[in-house]
């Protein structure tokens, strides 16, 4: 019975491999990050349920709930002290600050793609999904 070992020992054509490695610093050195994600448990990302989580108990049709949520998102976006255009990443670092305000989270999720947050864009309610997490990268000069 032949084994692979002798063949491998005499196989000098196999090129030598080397592993290159550079560890990224654990902390964000440049600017700072804010993490936006819906809380894991209990929040279904439907307009009517989101409104209930936001403290609005009023009964509405699905369309009316969607309109109300859009209105709240637009109003919140204008209040936020974020730059109108902010870069987005999925990579969190040690020291990034988690946002805990639900309306702010919903607003940022609705107005962000995977790359950029645009304050003036129409909110995309389909992007308010439980489990979606994004980090806004803000320059240090921005004082929140």
């Amino acid at each position: 019975m032949r084994t692979q070992a002798p063949d491998l020992l005499h196989n000098m054509s196999a090129p030598a491999k080397t592993t290159i490695s550079r560890k990224a610093p654990a902390k964000r050195i440049f600017g700072f990050g804010i993490i936006f994600a819906l809380p894991q448990q209990g929040i279904a990302a439907y307009p009517s349920r989101l409104l209930r989580w936001l403290g609005d108990e009023k009964r509405r049709t699905a369309k009316a709930a969607e309109e109300e949520l859009r209105r709240r998102i637009q109003a919140r976006a204008l209040e936020l002290p974020l730059p109108p255009v902010t870069a987005v990443t999925a990579q969190a670092h040690e020291g990034d600050i988690p946002c805990t305000d639900l309306l702010t989270i919903v607003t940022v999720l609705a107005k962000s793609s995977s790359r950029v947050y645009l304050r003036d864009k129409e909110p995309n309610l389909a992007s308010i999904v439980t489990g979606r997490r994004l980090i806004l990268i803000l320059p240090k000069e921005i004082a929140l």
């Binding site: 030598a16 491999k17 592993t19 290159i20 490695s21 109108p84 870069a87 987005v88």
Partner: protein, 146 residues
């Protein structure tokens, strides 16, 4: 970049100028342009598609990049990495500019945008040329002007 200082230029015209610049500039230079736009308040004048493009370039430079790869010894890719290490070793470690250059080179290496050793030098040269060429209005200046 002078366009960003001209307030009479509309958002769509400004975005067209930036989009053309991004297309014309080499790797490194376009990252520097995107970085300066996001660092100043000028990015807020970009239309969505161009902002998206700039944000991708900016994120690479502003986010720490890890590299972990198994490569063939003495291959072109290995030589490129050695050149990256050689260049970064010469820079002062405490400077913010060094952090940005490190992120840029590691990010480009990860995305296979550095094909040969000379690309490393070319990228840095392009970054430095564009970074040193312009000075955009800072966020604070813009706020006080408003």
């Amino acid at each position: 970049m002078k366009a960003s200082a001209a307030e009479s230029i509309s958002a769509s015209d400004f975005s067209s100028i930036v989009a053309d610049a991004l297309a014309a500039l080499p790797v490194g230079a376009r990252h520097a342009l995107a970085f300066r736009l996001f660092e100043s308040a000028s990015a807020s004048r970009l239309v969505a598609a161009v902002a998206e493009q700039c944000a991708e370039l900016y994120t690479m430079v502003a986010t720490a990049q890890a590299v972990h790869e198994s490569i063939t010894s003495k291959s072109v890719r290995h030589c490129v990495w050695q050149r990256v290490v050689q260049i970064l070793a010469r820079l002062a470690p405490d400077l913010e500019e060094t952090v940005l250059k490190t992120n840029l080179l590691c990010g480009l290496f990860n995305s296979n945008q550095l094909a040969v050793e000379e690309d490393v030098d070319r990228v840095l040269e392009a970054w430095e040329r564009v970074s040193g060429e312009f000075c955009l209005p800072g966020r604070q200046e813009e706020t006080s002007a408003a």
